[in-house]
Symmetry: C2
Subunit: 645 residues, 2 copies
Amino acid sequence: MERASVDHLAHERNKAQFDVEAMKIVWAGSKHAFDVSNRMARLVASDPVFDKGDRHLLGRKELFKEAMRKAAHGWRLINELRLSDEVASRFRSFIDEPSFIDAHWEMFVPTIKGQCNEEQKQKWLPLANKLQIIGCYAQTELGHGSNVRGLETTATFDPISDEFVINSPTLTSTKWWPGGLGKASTHAIVFARLKLGTQDHGVHGFIVQLRSLDDHVPLPGITIGDIGMKFGNGGYNAMDNGFLRLSQVTREGKFLESNVPRQLVYSAMIYVRQTIVSDASIALSRAACIATRYSAIRRQFGSHDGGLETQLIDYKTQQSRLFPLLASAYAFRFVGEWLKLLYTDLTRRILSNDFSTLPETHSCTAGLKSLTTSITAGAIDECRKLCGGHGYLCSSGLPQLFAAYVPACTYEGENYVMLVQVSREGRFSAGFWKTLHRNNSLYEASKTFDALYLQDWLKPCVSMEVFEARSMRMLIACAQNISKMPNQEEGFAELSSDLAEAATAHCQLIVVSKFIEKLRENIPGEGVKDQLEVLCNIYILSLIHKHKGDFLSTRCITPKQASLANDQLRRLYTQVSSSKRNHLVDAFNHTDHYLGSVLGRYDGNVYPKLYEEAWRDPLNDSVVPDGYTEYLRPMLKQQLHNARL
Amino acid sequence: MERASVDHLAHERNKAQFDVEAMKIVWAGSKHAFDVSNRMARLVASDPVFDKGDRHLLGRKELFKEAMRKAAHGWRLINELRLSDEVASRFRSFIDEPSFIDAHWEMFVPTIKGQCNEEQKQKWLPLANKLQIIGCYAQTELGHGSNVRGLETTATFDPISDEFVINSPTLTSTKWWPGGLGKASTHAIVFARLKLGTQDHGVHGFIVQLRSLDDHVPLPGITIGDIGMKFGNGGYNAMDNGFLRLSQVTREGKFLESNVPRQLVYSAMIYVRQTIVSDASIALSRAACIATRYSAIRRQFGSHDGGLETQLIDYKTQQSRLFPLLASAYAFRFVGEWLKLLYTDLTRRILSNDFSTLPETHSCTAGLKSLTTSITAGAIDECRKLCGGHGYLCSSGLPQLFAAYVPACTYEGENYVMLVQVSREGRFSAGFWKTLHRNNSLYEASKTFDALYLQDWLKPCVSMEVFEARSMRMLIACAQNISKMPNQEEGFAELSSDLAEAATAHCQLIVVSKFIEKLRENIPGEGVKDQLEVLCNIYILSLIHKHKGDFLSTRCITPKQASLANDQLRRLYTQVSSSKRNHLVDAFNHTDHYLGSVLGRYDGNVYPKLYEEAWRDPLNDSVVPDGYTEYLRPMLKQQLHNARL
């Protein structure tokens, strides 16, 4: 099914000069990870329940009903096949549709595991793990997002009855956005401001039962619903993001008790954000795969004798827009792997009460979450444009990818808020300001770098120094400007945009350094490491080109060096283009089902399938459209004055 | 209806320090243009047939049926009210839904007017003008877009029967994308390769009847349908973009006969593209209006004593992302006005057989079409992000605006293809290379500019010189690099990305110069000109910041000057923010109907209306969702093994 008999891209593939099977392992992270993903992707792809072909045609109710069906069918398979938690999670990811079941497994269960005390865990985990209850995470409110301290929902403790009264005192305190809240969840972890007598004890989490376990009807005092349609035809609309107004009593309470260290909350945040970085590389790889394959099929201009036109991918404009995105997918993959190790190390330390790496890990993860999701969201849209008009069709898969992806820029830490925070706290204060005193020559604006020849721009040590210097000098410039302000707080506020740019530079430095570190590993497979080196250099040089203003204004490079870097970048494009472009996206090992794109089909059989897809539109059910008699005919026949419109 | 009793933004509005009514006239272009738009916008807004509230909930068929209903109702009103062509066109624009009727009026009719000979006009124009036929413009094919010369559809002339046989010889020659083709059109202008005997006479236009005027059934030899769903919930899906396969005879044809000068084809292209530039400013103004109003309502962080949090619009990060977009809306408006004059002048000249300004007008319009649509598409998405999570809800209006807008980057000249063309032809070869020989000191890399103080960056003459020098020096750099290549053709191909960047710089120079020229006019109204000066400087300085790399690498400015420019930019943000921000968007005079956004409501009554909108989602029809019994209950009750999924 995945491999059709005619492969229109076979000619392209025969050109490959590296071991694509070995690259698949590198991309997946390990042989084990590859095997699991490969098996689960194909399990989902071969099951008709998980078909996605008609998603963009479904109305809201049908879409949600299908999501419930997929969740139930998936859960049955997970149990029948006795999939482990890790494997089940991979399995769910290939279903590729955001739904309440994700909110349950990715938000509700981890919060109980991470933030409840033992007694609470013993009560709730077995129920949640067997799906005897469905839960969600209700924090955001209609009037309050990023600033958790601004939440208005109240929890008033009644010492006599030993209960909490949870209340939505204002319209803006309505819980708003939680995934799974609207229709599916029976329970929620509700974040509310704890009041004891007249005292405000800050925001805490409470478990609240929302719906009867007998008939799913909301309990008394609870008003609950879906917040309405979101961006895109399918998009996130299979998810019942919900609202909730409360005037309800619960005996379950409160999280973040004294015996659960505050640091665990941060640790949970770090866990979620590092998975978002991993997911960014996957989403970006999907878009880049679609655009790369289609660019090898699509031809345009360049024929002077009526022969075949030139493949889009052979144009420098296409290459200069596409290949940096392809390189970024790999870059994000490797930095994501590193973040995962960083998180594993952190949890190990926390178990032995060592919180020393927490601030820096927190800051790193927040910054990289912001960087990778912003770039990925933009990249998906750019890949759509790289596919020309056909990228705008739902059958290209790109509208769905974009609409379902962009919330990642907002949830779990709004990207701009994150960047400003990163530059003010964490890494910058803890790590950077410390190294600043080491008086490294990189900080000195007079120090320049020795990229005199084209090939100097292929040396990792050169790139690393230039990126380090740029990041540090931008921050020094911020610090100097802040020092001119009446006070530091005002300075931070006034220069927040500059700080965000400095944070971006810092995060790019991290990504670059981790890509370079990856290349120092032993990487088996013929030509694989060479190919990764090319991608790494494309990533680096395309960043230098894109942020030339930063590098020049901090005097890290000269205009002449910038021009050399750009020349070298063009040469690298030629290297990718001439031999390996399709294998670089084949290495992602995406099934046609997962890609969900006619343009990105493995076999390149684009045009016949576009035509076939078109016929499936409901408008093509009849040759004369419904409404012709009422509206078109009277107009054409000049009889509108009598018509009932 | 438009002005609710409580105005949550009244406090903001009371701060205004300029004459907003006078600014409305400036924005509209003239008192007359303001009156027409104001009257038509309110006519549409008050008519329930044109309600857009449920658009994102409609399935494909219903959406198209509604589009037919709106077209018929609109046509009846246009006739009853005896609206002139100009006024009718404004009226249709406020219906704010792309549909077949636009393809008829904006593509089919102008092509007949501009490219038919007198005999053809006499036959077709009366039918088209009375809507006795509905037409579309069928050029693009499944396998062929930008390269018109690559079209595969054939028209073979049979001298015996004096007829053309129009044929789709391959799948990729299927006409694909034409708006209105799929379901509504009775006729099409089909572009095909003319064959006389064995000779190929290039691509020509032919009028082909597609459907019977009796029952709307496609004629024999014609296969026709809709190409399927496109990006977004409503988006462009009310439009029946269609496909067409032909094996059909027509006696009507061919256009571009010897008595219709080739230049008229270019003139038509210029006409369409200059309207696209105008439309860009409108689309951008809508997004900026929504984001500005919501940013004054939304509050976040900044409260230390439980009081009101800070308005989003008071944050420098918000300002630095939003205000340049607001300034761009004004900038595009003025350059659009200038293009319109340029086009009027061109048509006047063409009438007296003067084609001297054609190449430069063509190139200017192509470049500005590319620049303004690319920026606007990105800006709408940025405005969505500036509205945080709520911007992702359909009720914010931004998903619809984005999905319906982005095709402008692709149709009527794909934006990247345009940029590369601009840099190779037109203005650059005709205008630029000529001035190059004038040996202006601006071209000399040694010439620097005298912005030594903050206030120097408020001087138009300084900005103009800097933008001129940057544009010219970038092109010189391209020319020098091209001269090093084996031949010019290879050089153009290899450096096409650099050429596209140089073309962008050139187009920005045009926009900047037209904004500055506008400020030299007599502009009545208290404070209006001052305010436009602030916007002009924000536009200029934000471009310098964004493209700092260009300005620095061409040594037009020094790092120190770049830093001063950025300081000045921040000061300007403060000026806009402190007093005039809401009036600057009120000046667009958009009705709440046209904006279609809960977040952008004139009265700022955002939260209650979001809550109200949410309840209207079909998922909220019942408290227990459809599908609970089949899927959720068996899962919760551990009875999945028996369930039929």
